[in-house]
Amino acid sequence: MPADGGIGAATIRREDVRFLTGTGKYTDDINIHGQAHVHFLRSEIAHGKIKGLDKASAEQMPGVLKIFTSDDFAEVGGLPCGWQVTDRHGEAMQEPAHPILASGKVRHVGEPIAAVVAESREQAQDAAEAISVDIEELPAVVDMPGALEDSAPKVHDDLTSNLCYDWGFVEENREAVDEAIRNAAHVTTLELRNNRLVANPMEPRVAVGDYTSASGDSTLYTTSQNPHVIRLLMGAFVLGIPEHKLRVVAPDVGGGFGAKIFHYAEEAFCTFAAKNLGRAVKWTSTRSEAFMSDAHGRDHVTKIDLALDAENNFTAIRTETHANMGAYLSTFAPSVPTWLHGTLMAGNYKTPLVYVNVKAVFTNTVPVDAYRGAGRPEATFQLERVIDKAARELGADPIALRRQNFITEFPYATPVALEYDTGNYVATMDRLEDMADLAGFESRLAESRERGMLRGLGVNCYIEACGIAPSSLVGQLGARAGLYESATVRVNATGGLVVMTGSHSHGQGHETAFPQVVADMLGIDAGMVEVVHGDTANTPMGMGTYGSRSLAVGGSALVRATEKIISKAKRIAAHLMEASEADIELGGGQFSVAGTDKSVAWGDVCLAAYVPHNYPLEDLEPGLEETAFYDPSNFTYPAGAYACEVEVDPETGKVSIERFSAADDFGNVVNPMIVEGQVHGGLAQGIGQALLEDCVYDENGQLLTGSYMDYAMPRADDVPFYAVDHSCQTPCTHNPLGVKGCGEAGAIGSPPAVVNAVIDALQRAGHDVEHIDMPVSPSRVWHAMQG
């Protein structure tokens, strides 16, 4: 390993220096000379018919340049959906148009109706208030089962109903699963809600559109996890700008968690308006706007049945879910409750029969799409909760019941289409029992009781499918994109390297971790490697960062490109040392000839590549720069076991997390410090979902949790120090680094552990409580205790 950190080193992050000194460059820090500002007039009504819009007086307000409405976008495409789901009858999903600005109707609170561009932000807002909009309010569709009744108002008049799709998976198993459940020795049933969440990256979204009339080039600066995807979607499907005339830059991005994957109306608007007005146009979201315009997450209502035989072996799982799509289909929304959820319903267990039914429903709410974990937390929560409930009903130990049903042989083909390449669920559970000191629980319980507090222990497992994904597979499943990743490795004449990656870091530490991989392969200092990302002008086409894919897919592309570099460098070294290429070895930054003391340094080879005086020009091009695109052959399957201990105040119902332990198998690990930080962050989001966070609409479609005054974000005093461990490592068998991905694990694995612990605490205290929906707030716990 290089002295300053190759693969496996807890190298501190180089990008921290700019963030710690206030010199990061986020999108809102970008101001273009002469830029104008846009304010979006957003609907305050959840569902209504736009009968008229009078902007005449607003247009006369100081500083106003232009007020745009849907009429201005008549020639422009709407926002595309990137994934088509086919329903259980073989029909395509219902896919409504998604206009940039509301056209004809408003369909959720926060939908932009008009856009005012003015010299200043305040002037734009002042003028927006002067616009008079006449909206005939219609009954709002909020409740999902209600939305599917024949009498329900339709969110989209041109669709046949509010049902986006009725998906069954695996449809051929449906009757066999029903049969197995009918004949089971025991069936445990649980109905639950997976609460709607708002991703809330701390940096609100920002878009700055710019246009150069001399060349006809458009540039969009945006808070995105995947600038190339935005360029493709916006260029090809919305604005009709060829990609070579459109540059998308996502500079420092202040967190994403899924919400910055998607292509949003504001991005298209700023790009369009900049060209239309010949001025750069900037939009900076307020947090209040973010709550009603960023895609939300989760929001499933589910009934799950777990069937067991007389020996407590799982025999079948059947789950029926209503998944909220919101008013329009966000970019990847249809995939979340289906392929990212249904395929995970086998969990860590060898259940032979699984059937998943999902009805995706349109409602008059903000669109719902992927949020950290995306489908996998919803699968894990219901499965791990129903297993806990089954254990109680059967008088079985919840850990023993899980162990009994673990998949133990790999590769393992699940009944829901995945093939787990590797894993060791017994090892992670063993590790968890040790690190969480489960043996000491009883004494901690006694100590809590002395203080008048209830105490409970919750344990669960999780598995996720990460490193999304084989393009050919996702294409069959309805993805309208490939899911490879790219890397260009450029070696400079004096030996330093620049890595240009299609992945995007918005907190994940690529600028530190990716050089560790290259440095390890070349035997050079990581400090010689620089990472460039986030700008379509200087990085190869890539699909970006989400689904815990950066290292597993982007890192693999980086390995492949670096391998090409090594291969070519060896040919140059062979020439320089007048040796056979097959005899060249690379180690410690030196090329040597096997069995001799001849060697040539890395830097000398690089120089020769660019100053090719002594160089095999007849056989080899000068230069040392290689690009690789990597398309994985399978998902990766991180898995783990989590334990949570809570105290419950029996008088107030308040839950506090006393201990949280996470044993994860991420395969190989490049930077353990970063990996642990990713788990910590995921755990806080999972604990937030379990205890605090809830995005709530009233029956009229009004958002009740539109700010941090009512949407409870986890804060420092809501969480403990966590114990996390990734020492159980079964390397991924199909990517060159053997890595699996770690970004979402914490958010997937932790909610059931928390809720299982609360239920355990209440039951130990004699309360007959089987389930409490998340967030398990003090008032909900107290009401549950009242019976």
């Binding site: 501190i12 992050r13 990008e15 921290d16 220096v17 700019r18 963030f19 710690l20 000194t21 206030g22 010199t23 990061g24 986020y26 809102d28 820090d29 101001n31 305040e122 809330n200 990256p201 701390m202 940096e203 609100p204 420092d252 991005v253 202040g254 967190g255 968690f257 307020t286 947090r287 209040s288 918005h506 907190g507 994940q508 530490g509 353990p672 410090m673 970063i674 642990e676 930080g677 910590h680 962050g681 995921g682 755990l683 806080a684 989001q685 700010s707 941090y708 005054m709 974000m713 986890p714 804060r715 420092a716 005093d717 969480v719 120090f721 966590y722 114990a723 996390v724 461990d725 914490g746």
Partner: protein, 159 residues
Amino acid sequence: MKISMTVNGREMSGEAEGRTLMSDFLRNTLKLTGTHVGCDTSQCGSCVIHVADRAVKSCTMFAAEADGACVKTIEGMANDDGSLGTIQQAFQDHHGLQCGFCTAGMVMSADALLKENPSPSESEIRDYLEGNICRCTGYHNIVKAIMAASGQDVENIAA
């Protein structure tokens, strides 16, 4: 109106309206973009700076209210030689930041805390950070970094 203040030891001035927020004045007028704005209800703390040696939320005070005051922002936290200050260095050493957006506010709050309480306990740190929201770190390494910056041994804190 023209307002002037001492920012990170330097005299600075610029035009402001009555409604100009301190955060906007720093970011847009003085071009000090290290101070961030993450909410509009005075809760996230990304905008914390020091005015007259007190931590305040710069999004919840008017620039004119700081006229004539001594102001310190994240841009003024490094050592004179440009190296990271003690708290900044502890945040880097202990991975107390990921996306970096909340970081300025966290560092400014931590600095205020350690001036009041040079060796805070874990719970005192968590309590003090009530007004600083981080979505990335789960707070683990932020708390650890602040303990380390105060000279406490953090070796035994679980990963």
